[in-house]
Amino acid sequence: MSSISTEAKVGLFVLAALIILAYMSFRVGEYGFGLKKGYLVNVVFDDATGLEKDASVQIAGVEVGRVEDISLKDGKALVTLRILPSVELEKDVEAKIKSYGILGDKYVDIVPGTKDGTYITAGGDITRTGQQADIDKLLSELGIIAGDVMKITSSLKNVLGSAEGEANLKAIVENTRSITENLNRVVTQNDEKLNLMITNLGEASAEMRNAFAALNNIVERIDSGEGTIGQLVENRDVFDNLNQTLASIRDITDKINKGEGTIGKLVNDEDTVDNLNASLKSLEKSMDGIERYVSKSEQFKTFLSYRGEYLFDGGDGKGYFDLTIRPKEDKFYVLGLVADPRGSRTVTDTTVGATPTTRTETWERDELLFTAQIGKRFKDIALRGGIFESTGGVGIDYFAFDDRLQVTFEAFDFDSDRNAHLKTYAEYRLLKHIYLSAGWDDFISNEGRESPFIGFSIKFEDEDLKYLLGSVPIPK
């Protein structure tokens, strides 16, 4: 340390401090030294409120200069800008006073112009200026607007705010909706009709004009005695002829009235009338009866049938006794009894305390099951529905070889606990009333009840039964 002289120490210190000062000045001043070389440009603003000397001049947010001076000129603000020499301004640039945010400092923003090679020279003017929306102006205008809005809302509130107003509004809206809906429906539905109507009306009015003209013409012609009607109207002879004819007709009817001649007698004799009446009535009755019996005897048929089935797996027999009523060719009713060896099933659910439900199934033998079905036949196919063995079900029959072979499929006893009872079989007419059948009963059973079977049946048409039923009024 002793080797460094006092002067050197002071000199070093002063130098260091000056370097730091220069550095800080350069950083802070930014263009502090270079800007003085920049050129001056004048711009006149209507209002330069808040703009200060040395405020920034920017293009697209990049500082290109500073505000050199602000003075008054003809009641407007003459702002002199010092622009960096490296920046050229086109002739039609636009200068605006803007601010950083709402509360920030003001600066001059320059919007670049068209690049046509002409630039503002030193001491020139920027002629286009714009004004940024002033925050004070904005706030005062906002205040006015808010006042207006408040007036509107308060009056609206008076009108609509009450319960009555609300209800009215609701009613109006609903009415409007229903009206427009109706209108829409009417218009869309009757679009074509309306069009047609309008065209028709147009045509009709044209036609009517023609018709009236023609009518006029006809009436004129009748008036002048032209044509048949004209002659009829005008000619005396025709009228006389007509009179004579009417007179002779009156003569004839007079004679009939008096009982003269055959017709007269017939007409005037009371007995004849009674006889005629009686015979007509009896004829009517007999015709009725004939008609009904003939039609019924033609269409109405009743069949009785018994079928026995032997179930191989169950080792049991099943008996069917059916009465089939067929009022029409394509319609039939089946009523019947079924003797099932397993009888009917009774399900009992018992719940003891908190233990789960116990389901008990009991099969009661020797109980008859019922069949009541309604069916309809379409050519070779007949569909049946109703009660099958005391449960609901459907069935389909297919007939072949002039009804000698019948293939049947039935599905019934639908229960959520077990599979439905499906049954299919074929029946063949061996002799006139004797049929043989074979099939598979309950073939998707999950209770082990599926079983193939063969069967034998007798089926015949019962005429007496038919007449017995025939006298009962059955709709045709």
Binding site: T6, V10, F13, V14, L18, Y23, M24, V28
Partner: protein, 259 residues
């Protein structure tokens, strides 16, 4: 009655003493100005005082500036965080340092370090009759002893302030960017955007005034010391107190005039 009269007497005398002292300081200042422009200037003496006032104060000024900047950044951060404007911490530190804290704190530190030393030195010379010896040697003690000190104070204070400003901003940057996580670009840009050259130069002007005040007050207190070793101690204390108070009071008026 006598007591009241005595109290009023004392009060009046105190005022008169103060005014008299202000007058003496002014006279000393004027004579310093007069001797300053009168050649030959003793450059060697000036450099020695510059070394003492300036170079030897660097350490304490650097320390003061750095920690002041750091604590400003820390305090400012919590304030600006409420507005999500943390990046303004940099400009706050920079503005505060350059405009106010740099000059004032530097002046106070130099007053404590060098101003007190001046008073003690001159006071000792006064009580040991060395100053009288200078008169005997036909050497003006104001020119020989006081002018170099005042020049050193006026010149060195701004330079020390530059160091304090810079170190303060550096300290603020160190706390703000790596520790508090403020974006460094925003931090620096806000400094350059918000701080004007004027802020720095006005601060330096103030610092020069403070240098003048502390050196003149220090010299005056030492030059007019009476009462032996005890008087030297009293003079030193009074010099520091008066200089510090004067610096703070004048700071207000200087700021009001300049900004």
């Amino acid at each position: 009655m006598n007591k009241i009269a005595a109290t009023i007497d004392n009060f009046g005398r105190a005022i008169l003493d103060n005014i008299e002292e202000m007058g003496r300081i002014l006279i000393l200042f004027l004579s310093v100005l007069m001797w300053m422009v009168r050649p030959p200037l003793k450059l060697r003496l000036i450099f020695r005082q510059m070394e003492f006032v300036g170079v030897k104060s660097i350490f304490v000024v650097v320390l003061t500036g750095t920690f002041t900047g750091m604590v400003m950044a820390l305090q400012g951060y919590y304030g600006f965080k409420m507005f999500n404007a943390e990046s303004l911490v940099g400009s706050t530190v920079a503005l505060g340092m350059t405009r106010e804290l740099g000059p004032v704190l530097t002046a106070l530190m130099v007053t404590a370090r060098a101003g007190s030393a001046m008073a003690a030195e001159l006071g000792t010379m006064r009580v040991t009759e060395q100053i009288d010896a200078l008169y005997v040697m036909a050497t003006n003690p104001v020119k020989h002893l006081i002018v170099p000190r005042v020049i050193a104070g006026v010149v060195m204070l701004p330079l020390l302030t530059v160091v304090a400003d810079f170190m303060g901003i550096l300290g603020g940057y160190f706390v703000g960017v790596p520790i508090l996580g403020i974006n460094s670009g925003a931090f620096v840009n806000n400094i350059t955007k918000m701080v004007d050259l004027g802020d720095i130069y006005h601060g330096l002007t103030k610092a020069a005034f403070f240098g003048l005040i502390l050196s003149v007050v220090g010299c005056h207190k030492g030059f007019n010391t009476t009462g032996g070793a005890e008087g030297v101690g009293r003079a030193t204390t009074e010099a520091v107190v008066l200089a510090s108070v004067s610096i703070l009071i004048s700071d207000y008026f200087l700021t009001a005039i300049m900004f």
